[in-house]
Amino acid sequence: MTETFDFIEIKIPAKAEYVGVVRLSISGIANRMGFAYDDIEDLKVGISEAITNAVKHAYNETGEGEITLGFGVYEDRLEVMVADHGGSFDLKKVKEDTGPYQEEDSIEELREGGFGLFLIDALMDKVEINNKYGVIVLMTKYLHENEVGFNDDQISTTQ
């Protein structure tokens, strides 16, 4: 069975000043699809983190190169692809540096830049990373998964 979907592609210079532009784009796409406010905010953070990573690691902030963004608009979900074409970062190291702060960690050990991938993982429903040719981050957010919004995270301690 083949699923039909709309595909939107955007290419931006690998510069931090374009992250905000992409946030507006994804906000528009997700809003058109009927995503709830909190899910749209999650998507904005997710895509910004992926672009920030691409700008930082792949290009060493020299501002050269491009980032390609793909949006797969499906009936029940939005798939977002962020691809840098060029350099790559050490995925294993990125994963090792990823995770929430633990109370036994000392403040000196706190990672100032290590929360990006962790947040993508926490805010998206599915995340895949392909490190073969440059870095491609593919993240998926489903419609209607959390109809109550994020406040239920704080209340449903019995689950």
């Binding site: 931090a16 000043e17 992250v19 953070v45 403040i107 100032e112 947040l119 994020f150 406040n151």
Partner: protein, 111 residues
């Protein structure tokens, strides 16, 4: 898509009022402004985030740097009036445990 930073430097009490978005583009400017304030011995730095409509891990990074700096210079950092979205990022990452955040808990989660 920008960040406005207003600093009220009143001797030992420094209030930084932010409005706009904190992301990879605006975070360096925030760090440049905030860090020197925390590097004054025994300074009390209050950051008002009421006007911040968007923040991501780049913002968390800036506040972690500032917190580290307070330990070094014996100063204090307090974040006040952040919205639920911004607070949530501190919560997910476990940073609510170590950064001093003033919230109105009766409002939070009640909507």
């Amino acid at each position: 898509m920008n960040l406005n930073i207003n600093v009220d430097d009143n001797e030992k009490l420094k209030t930084v009022t932010l409005s706009g978005e904190i992301d990879a583009y605006t975070a360096p400017k925030l760090k440049e402004t905030l860090l020197p304030l925390t590097q004054e011995d025994q300074a009390v730095v209050k950051v008002d985030l009421e006007g911040v409509s968007y923040m991501d891990s780049t913002g968390l990074g800036v506040f972690i740097s500032a917190l580290k700096s307070t330990k070094e210079y014996d100063s204090q950092l307090t974040l006040v009036k952040m919205n639920d979205r911004v607070y949530r990022l501190f919560e997910i990452t476990g940073l609510t445990e170590i950064i001093d955040i003033e919230t109105d808990s009766t409002v939070r989660g009640g909507m």
